[in-house]
């Protein structure tokens, strides 16, 4: 498994590349097909946000080894774009469907096990998500 694989994301084609790579790494790490799809979907959304709002950024993958042999995959989606003014607002949404509008961050959070976001207006945004193999 390649540690710290990084993909430059600037176009919608890169979104596809990023999620295919993510799926491949997830399967390699022993995640089930179902989990790999969740991961690929989350990556697609994060990469898409980069393209839509920041025009360019990176998606980095890292394999993790946790307690008692737990295996995880960490994905960091980072850009130096405009940043998010109100992060809590971006994260707020009820459980009901939102029709896929906006940043889709609450959805990404639901897809993954761990979610972290750091954003500053004018500096950029970094979203870090992790999924642990069951």
């Amino acid at each position: 498994m390649s540690e710290g694989t990084q993909i430059l994301v600037t176009s919608d084609r890169d979104v596809v590349t990023a999620r295919q790579q993510g799926r491949a790494l997830a399967l390699q790490a022993g995640f089930s097909d179902s989990e790999a799809t969740l991961i690929a979907t989350a990556i697609s959304e994060l990469a898409r946000n980069i393209v839509s709002y920041a025009r360019q950024g990176t998606v980095t993958f890292k394999s993790l080894n946790g307690h008692k042999g737990a295996v995880g995959l960490k994905i960091v989606a980072a850009d130096s774009g405009p940043g998010i003014a109100d992060v809590s607002q971006a994260l707020r949404d009820g459980f009901s469907s939102s029709g896929g509008l906006g940043l889709g961050l609450p959805g990404v959070k639901r897809l993954m096990d761990e979610f972290d976001i750091a954003s500053r207006v004018g500096s950029g945004t970094t979203v870090t998500v992790t999924k642990w193999r069951t």
Binding site: S34, G94, F95, S96
Partner: protein
């Protein structure tokens, strides 16, 4: 000044003390490997037999018959030598997985697999000792070429076996989980999922996955999810239920939820579910009848 002549007894003059012009060219690593691969191939029958005998003595692979051991031994031997030759472990990795897939169901344990590979390593090493014993220098060089490769092989096979074992265990665990939460096909195109007891988010997710796969396998058009046996549901699990209904629809199936207690109905409303949009019926029987109507089973007599 005393003129000393230093001579050492002839037998122990190492080759190194000769002048450079006289030294034979040192073989490259590649040439050495080629030479030892040649030796291992030439003596294949003999060495393999010796190995199989050692396996028997160590009482390894007791779960397999002599013929099977012989067959596998032949394949492993050839793969082993091939890796020494090519330096590539890809084929070996694939073979190790394949072998593991076959022998794990037979009850072969990790220590046995590691054991037989180490035995082969030893058998081959001793054979090399025997061949090059008269040339200590060369023996060292041959072992320098052989040992790292041999260790890599042992490692690859062991790791391959363990990974395959882990995969099998995970599969079995998944199968056990599925057995404990059955999705029942009652009629053609109609599935029933009775949910009983306490559901945690992980089980809820499993149930959803199983149901969705069941819809596809059974080509179900209607699903009745009966939650009569569920005492209480927190918002997270209630949300899972809603997601299950929505996901089922994406697969073209209609979901009827039966056995909704007032408490659970309240939880659903609290998380923003429009119960008017959800197909709910009082009890399971009523739900099945509704499902049959949807499927067109009931003939309406005018």
């Amino acid at each position: 000044m005393v003129n000393r002549e230093r001579t050492a007894p002839k037998e122990i003059i190492p080759q190194r003390s000769r002048t450079i012009a006289e030294l034979p060219p040192r073989e490259s690593q590649t040439e050495l490997l080629r030479e030892l691969v040649g030796h291992l191939r030439q003596n294949r029958t003999l060495l393999r037999e010796e190995w199989v005998a050692r396996i028997g003595e160590a009482r390894l692979l007791a779960a397999m018959t002599q013929e099977e051991i012989f067959q596998e031994a032949t394949s492993v031997y050839d793969s082993y030598v091939a890796v020494l030759e090519t330096g590539s472990v890809d084929d070996l990795t694939a073979y190790a997985r394949n072998l593991s897939e076959r022998i794990i169901p037979r009850g072969v344990e990790t220590n046995e697999v590691v054991g037989i590979v180490l035995l082969l390593r030893d058998v081959l090493a001793r054979s090399l000792f025997a061949k090059y014993q008269s040339d200590f220098e060369k023996l060292n060089r041959v072992l320098d070429a052989y040992e790292p490769a041999a260790n890599r092989i042992a490692n690859t096979v062991a790791v391959g076996f363990v990974q395959e074992r882990e995969r099998v265990i995970r599969q079995q665990q998944e199968a056990i989980r599925e057995l404990s939460t059955p999705v029942l096909q009652v009629r053609e195109r109609l599935l029933i999922l009775p949910i009983i007891g306490v559901i945690d988010p992980q089980r809820a997710r499993q149930l959803t996955e199983q149901l969705l796969r069941g819809i596809r396998t059974n080509r179900a058009k209607v699903v009745v999810i009966d939650i009569t046996g569920v005492a209480a549901m927190d918002a997270t699990v209630a949300n899972h239920l809603v997601q299950t209904v929505e996901a089922s629809r994406l697969l073209g199936a209609t979901v009827i939820v039966t056995g909704l207690s007032p408490e659970i109905a309240q939880t659903l409303v609290t998380i923003g579910v429009d119960l008017g949009k959800m197909n709910t019926v009082g009890d399971l029987q009523g739900g099945i009848e509704q499902a049959e109507r949807l499927l067109g089973y009931k003939v309406v007599l005018s």
